[in-house]
Point group: C4
Chain length 271, copies 4
């Protein structure tokens, strides 16, 4: 098996949704996340499992490195060597490496950070699903989201700004409840997303008045993106419907054009 075949094995053409190589990787990633769902001491078999998963991740990393020149379009024959050299500096390679590293330390290692770094393996898992975008149904939604990128960005800024200003006001209105500005930010986010745990809430009259005003306005801010998306999705679905089968207005165009063609005949005859 030469390198080209290897590359087509680990990253096959995007005709399939998820390749068999990726399916195996998904199972290994899922298995390697199991220790992160345990709170107490991990049993013995889990240490063995984690060792096996780490070994497979290392093999996966090496295989991808071996095919570094195929994975990038700009790798011409000339700077192929540079491609191999720079591969570990690519973002996805760094995430890969970081997520493998904690595998070399015992599962119940004291340092908390090792557990968190392991979570990066989720990113590696999500990368596998990027091909799913090619599905028509997903593509419609992605197109709708992209088409309105600017209003979404502006609304996101408005939402974040709204949370920030709300936090700033409430923090100065009721400092006895909100001990730090971060407390106020947390309260504003939890309130305006209507989660409302009830661990922090205003107790003074002014604070409550502001909460009432802020909540009512907040719903409007949060309802906006959903409305834009719906409106846009509808237009796109409508158009893609027209392109396919039960288009409503196209016949009018066609029959009018047909009328046009038929009319041309007598006109020419007449001349």
């Amino acid at each position: 098996m030469n390198r080209k075949e290897l590359w087509f094995f680990i990253e096959p053409d995007a005709d399939q949704d998820v390749s068999s190589y990726d399916k195996v990787m998904l199972v290994v990633i899922a298995a390697s996340l199991i220790p992160l769902m345990l709170s107490g001491e991990a049993p013995d078999w889990m240490h063995w499992l984690d060792g096996l998963a780490t070994f497979i991740f290392v093999v996966d990393y090496v295989l991808h490195w071996l095919c570094a020149d195929f994975s990038h379009a700009e790798c011409s024959h000339r700077n192929r060597f540079l491609c191999f050299l720079l591969y570990p500096l690519r973002p996805i390679a760094i995430i890969d490496l970081l997520s493998i590293l904690p595998g070399f330390f015992p599962l119940n290692h004291g340092l908390r950070i090792f557990r968190l770094v392991r979570l990066l393996r989720i990113v590696r898992g999500l990368m596998i699903f990027r091909n799913i975008r090619r599905r028509r149904s997903v593509d419609l939604i992605v197109t709708a989201l992209k088409k309105q990128r600017e209003p979404f960005a502006i609304i996101f800024c408005i939402a974040v700004g709204y949370i920030f200003v709300s936090a700033l006001v409430v923090f100065n209105v009721e400092p006895q409840t909100f001990k730090s500005f971060f407390d106020a930010l947390y309260w504003a986010t939890v309130s305006l997303t209507t989660v409302g745990y009830g661990d922090i809430y205003p107790v003074t009259v002014v604070g409550r008045l502001f909460t009432m005003l802020s909540s009512i306005l907040g719903i409007a801010v949060i309802a906006l993106p959903s409305s834009i998306l719906t409106a846009d999705l509808m237009i796109i679905l409508n158009e893609s419907d027209d392109d396919e089968s039960n288009d409503v207005s196209a016949p009018a165009t066609q029959s009018a054009q047909m009328a046009l063609q038929h009319i041309n005949v007598p006109k020419e005859d007449a001349s």
Copy 2:
């Protein structure tokens, strides 16, 4: 009354919404659920009522078994015997039987499981409403939901995956609050559906930061299905509107075709 008449009595043609037989069964099911709404000791008359309901359920089960060959399209003359034999293994027959069984034990039997199995009678009750689908207004919604089955399935997977990843992160970020992974899953579900009871909530700065991020993103994930449904429903409603009376673009087609026909005449005259 022969068996064919019996069958048309218990499962009449779907012209009616709910047959009189089904109406009686609904009342019996509702009555048999009353004991499940009581916490203390059931009064005497309720024991009698429950006995009567159990008797009716048994009769209903036997009647359906007697007509087993009518209820299935594949029951030809040849394998009719097999139909009767295999009837108790059909899913609906198993649910029926399971929901009847607790009726043979006293109402305040110690085993909790008996109460829960009784809840299966709700499934039997819901089966009666399956005919409601034939109503035009319900059909439109069902059509809209079916048409976008794939995006809905994908979004459902994204939502469940989002809850799972959120739980995984928060469980490792703040293990002192979330004692088990199930706690974290419960928290993630309650937070991202914006119910937010406030029985579990993050207390550390990192946990709160993640909660803020997760909540804002979570709203987007949950707003998506609603947007798709709305967009699709609108197109279907729009089309069914066009088919009926006030269609907007069809006249254009028709008049253009009429124009075409009239034009054809001079063309032929000219030749």
Copy 3:
């Protein structure tokens, strides 16, 4: 001022949104609700105010009774006497009378029920706003709601049924938390509307599992009505748009028809 003039004074033609008589009544109703917003002992001036309001309500009741024959279309010359006799039995007259009665008792009367009956005055106030329906913008929404009356009714039944079944399941799954079935109903409503106070919440694993499932499904049930309304409103707005100015497809029809008319001429010439 004869009785006819009186009638046009208290219930003028619906050309105006809110008549001057109704404006005065609104102020009196608002003023008479102020004592209901106080918890402690009412000050002296409030007793005087309440007495004045009660007097005005009595006058309003008598005036409406005097014009009983105008207020009902079926009151012909013959059964006019019956109209006057039966007026106090009409629903709106009963609500009016009930809401006046507590005014004859002291404001801080021991019986709680007197306070609640006073709330009926809100109904009297709302009756005044019924003319607002004639506004075009409100009419569009009312039309959209009416057009989809059947699906809304079905979805409302599904929502109530869903809350009921959720309550039934959780009550039997976790009886130690939910002391009565009403507790479970209250929990189900507060959870599925995503209010989630956190005064009652499941504590067992099975109860929490069911809560998670129930919440995710519940969002879908609640998102449906909103989607239907949006879709329908859009079509109605779209059509009313077309009727007015910037209609999109009508020109196609018109121009095609114009084409038709012009073509007819040469055809006739040819013959």
Copy 4:
């Protein structure tokens, strides 16, 4: 640099989104808000920073005053003097002045009100973003909101009225929980926006029954504005789509018109 040049420097033509002068002001405003995010004693460097910010605000105020005659369209040559005289009475100038004043007092001054007045600087910052309206994507949303101004206003009144009536009912139904009418108003707002902190909740059966009813209805009231906005946005987006490129029904019109023109030719030939 004469006064006209100065004016174009501080309030340039609206071709740019945010001018360089405004960018500097935004940074200064942001910096001057930092002390509001601290709870304890401010460090020394912050006092210096605040002094600098106050100085810049004073300069900004004076510069705007100097150009008072340019900033208002009605300032003709004759009443220019009046313009300068009345400038400090304009709303924006009053807000500016008020927000500067606390800068002349020490940061950790005892009077709480100084901190709150500082928050007015946010308003000054928001004024800078008013030019963003000229962006097409924002303009679409603003147009949609404006077009349905009347229904939005009516729904807003319904929502506020609904909260008020809910509060009034619950306050009289359960006075032991809601100590004041403001408590009831706060509860109603927090419940109907589905935030539901859980700091106040009904405990009696009647109160809970009303809460259940009120919550289910409340969702409908809150879902309405979002539905109207979506429906309207869609129509506007649809129309602006038609105007641009992929319009669906316009070709029908055009081709029919073309047909019309071509048909005219033989008609004229025939005559």
